[in-house]
């Protein structure tokens, strides 16, 4: 175990307080795993292109509770009535009036009131095979420190509307030299036929060297539908390690739109398990990186039942000396006959110093499967650049127009035009420049 993992292991909480036995056992198991396997290293296949040097360099420490520097709330990218604001992994504020059938509880409240299904959900977090167990290090750490977070519950047949989940971190006035590692867990339960649009925003208004380790677990009941829009814009030195775990029952739909503008170290593991038949998964995203920013996206879809559909559509524009890692995997398990799976990833490199590591994976163990995948990395189309310049636009304007159009194809899949335009505007603001 390396220095950072050993130090974090020593900082793990010893006492789970007056919690149910299953909860104590869960935390203990997390701690045990973390002590045994530590954090991921580049030797783990799924962490080959992302090292934890930044966290080591910052001397990151486990810190309980939120920092004390007053932090204004993250401004939503579009107007949204119901908002949850999280600061350093803790609930900072909850705003709005929830529709009947939608319940928001802090994890602590949910545990003490014994919400149905919470134990199953928390215990269901999938693990990597034993030989790769260290690649789950952050999840183990998250489980070992389980305390902060939210439960979002949408009752059967309820339309929960749009809900903002905003994440930010701040520094502690007394110990501002400390780089805080905060852990948080979101449990999302959509009963049969329920709908929800979750708008997740990650922003750090203060430049800081903190890292957030967040796990979102979603359980979609039969014919439930979750639209998950994620907009991530951290400061240059901030770390963000997130995992989104989605379990889908028959006929359910999960639609993801992720927009990553990077940070010091940004990693997102997105995993969908299509457990029931005819479930649908649509994963879409764009990552735009400049400077020395880093984003690593690992998206994986497990088709475990018949007649499922999944598509992955990601676009990347990478400039400066930034680095994007993109791994998409689709596994069609035995019995998942009649599955349709599509993967598409295209990238534009704007600089010789920038790096893109993209890898599509596809494994099929079922019959009558339709599958396609493709990944490309290229430069700006010189013909198109000249065409625009010949009409009076300069090189910089041509780059802006072409890269925005390239990424706009992701926004255009959003049904809400207002949201699509707002995100498109954000993309234009951060679009990397030509070298």
């Amino acid at each position: 175990m390396n220095g950072l993992a050993a130090q974090l292991a020593a900082e793990l909480p010893q006492d789970s307080g007056t919690r149910p036995d299953w909860f104590k056992a869960l935390r203990d198991a997390g701690a045990k795993q973390f002590r045994a396997h530590g954090l991921p290293t580049r030797k783990d296949e799924t962490w080959k292109y992302t090292g934890l040097g930044l966290l080591e360099q910052h001397g990151t420490q486990l810190v309980k509770g939120a920092g004390s520097i007053l932090s204004s709330l993250v401004a939503p990218v579009v107007s949204v009535a119901n908002q949850i604001h999280m600061l350093d992994g803790c609930v900072q504020d909850i705003i709005g009036e929830l529709p009947a059938g939608v319940t928001l509880l802090t994890l602590e409240e949910a545990l003490s009131s014994g919400v149905n299904g919470l134990q199953d959900l928390l215990e269901s977090l999938p693990q990597s095979p034993l030989k790769n167990r260290s690649s789950d290090g952050f999840s183990a750490l998250n489980t070992a420190t389980l305390e902060n977070g939210m439960l979002i519950h949408v009752a059967a047949g309820t339309d929960g509307g749009r809900l903002l989940l905003a994440w930010s971190t701040t520094v502690d006035a007394k110990t501002d030299s400390v780089s805080r590692l905060s852990n948080s867990r979101i449990c999302l339960i959509l009963e049969a036929g329920a709908n929800l649009e979750l708008l997740e925003q990650f922003e750090t208004p203060h430049v800081n060297t903190n890292t957030s380790n967040i796990v979102v677990q979603a359980e979609l009941g039969e014919d439930a539908s979750l639209q998950h829009v994620r907009l991530q814009q951290e400061s240059d030195d901030t770390g963000l390690i997130t995992r989104t775990e989605v379990a889908q029952q028959a006929g359910s739909g999960y639609t993801y739109y992720g927009f990553d503008f990077g940070g010091g170290l940004v990693r997102h593991d997105l995993h969908c398990s299509l457990l029931g038949s005819a479930a649908r998964t649509s994963l879409n995203g764009a990552y735009l990186l400049d400077g020395k920013r880093h984003v690593d996206n690992h998206a994986k879809v497990d088709h475990m039942a018949a007649d499922g559909f999944s598509e992955q559509y990601f676009r990347g524009v990478v400039g400066g000396s930034s680095k994007a890692v993109f791994n998409t995997a689709v596994y069609v398990h035995p019995g998942a006959d009649g599955t349709e799976a599509k993967q598409s990833n295209a990238n534009i490199l704007l600089s010789k110093r920038a790096e893109i590591d993209t890898r599509p994976e596809l494994e099929i163990y079922a019959d009558e499967v339709v599958a396609s995948h493709g990944a490309t990395v290229g430069q700006l189309d010189e013909q198109a650049v000249f065409y625009l310049r010949s009409r009076g636009l300069n090189k910089e304007q041509a780059r802006q127009i072409l890269t925005t159009a390239f990424c706009r194809t992701v926004c255009d899949k959003l049904a809400d035009r207002q949201l699509a335009d707002a995100i498109s505007q954000r993309m234009m603001d951060v679009m990397p420049r030509l070298d």
Binding site: Q383, F386, R389, S390, R391, G392, N394
Partner: protein
């Protein structure tokens, strides 16, 4: 307005233009004809400033400016417009948005106020009316999925909106059937004006049935080898380019057309 003197240019180390001289006055339409590989499209691309076309000698003076010193966008802002032989498809960029951005870039360069979307739309409607074309191209991506005819019509539409001083039409007739050709040619004719010169580059005479030039030049092996009025084009149609072999500059007119160039 445009004076090209002893222009030499090469592409990938191969000399294509070998001392081309041409003078075009305001309001004139000149046709450049010639066999494949003569350097016709190279001339258009050199004038527009495409990368990869290296000028090794000669000069091009456009309205008192040394054109070859300018970036492609500066040439456009100064009033040079190239209608592409193969217009580029740019998926996801709205045609109207693109054209407004281009027009405003040019207006800004010239110190004129930029047009807002209302003003721009008014201008677009006016131009569509002049060209007798519908607005169906406006809302699509730039040339995205356009037919050959639509692409060329879109080039002419851009030309109408950008109002260049010098328009270079690079094989605008290629790939068009006769109906599409007529639509495009009619558009060009409506944009003829005493303030606007045009350089019509074509392999075939048929375009010149519809766009009647003031002068016709024959480009062969990197030089203009013959110049004349519109009738020269007819002669080329009749006799092909074979009689040009052997080179030499000939000046042809109506009266002596029959005397020159018989193989």
């Amino acid at each position: 307005m445009l004076k090209i003197t002893n222009l030499h240019a090469q592409v990938a180390g191969k000399e294509i233009l070998k001392g081309l001289d041409l003078e075009v006055k305001g309001g004139e339409i000149h046709a450049i004809m010639g066999p494949n590989g003569a350097g016709k499209s190279t001339l258009g691309n050199v004038l527009a400033g495409r990368e990869g076309y290296e000028v090794t000698a000669g000069e091009v003076i456009f309205n008192g400016k040394n054109l070859l010193e300018l970036e492609p966008e500066e040439r456009a802002c100064a009033g040079v417009f190239l209608a592409f032989q193969y217009p580029v498809e740019i998926p996801g960029v709205n045609n109207t948005y693109f054209l407004r951005a281009a027009l405003n870039a040019q207006r800004k360069y010239r110190g004129e106020p930029e047009l807002d979307s209302v003003g721009f739309l008014r201008l677009v409607r006016e131009k569509l009316k002049i060209l007798h074309i519908g607005d169906e191209l406006l809302h699509r991506g730039v040339n995205e999925g356009f037919s050959g005819g639509e692409k060329k019509r879109n080039e002419i539409f851009q030309m109408a909106v950008l109002e260049p001083v010098l328009a270079i039409l690079d094989e605008t007739d290629s790939g068009l059937d006769i109906d599409a050709l007529k639509v495009v040619a009619e558009g060009v004719n409506r944009l003829r004006s005493p303030e606007r010169a045009m350089l019509v580059i074509t392999h075939y005479q048929r375009l010149l049935d519809f766009i009647v030039p003031d002068k016709v030049h024959v480009l062969a092996d990197g030089r203009l080898v013959a110049s004349g009025d519109a009738d020269l084009a007819l002669k080329l149609e009749e006799q092909g380019y074979a009689w040009l072999e052997g080179g030499g500059i000939k000046t042809l007119g109506n009266k002596n057309a029959g005397q020159v160039g018989t193989p």
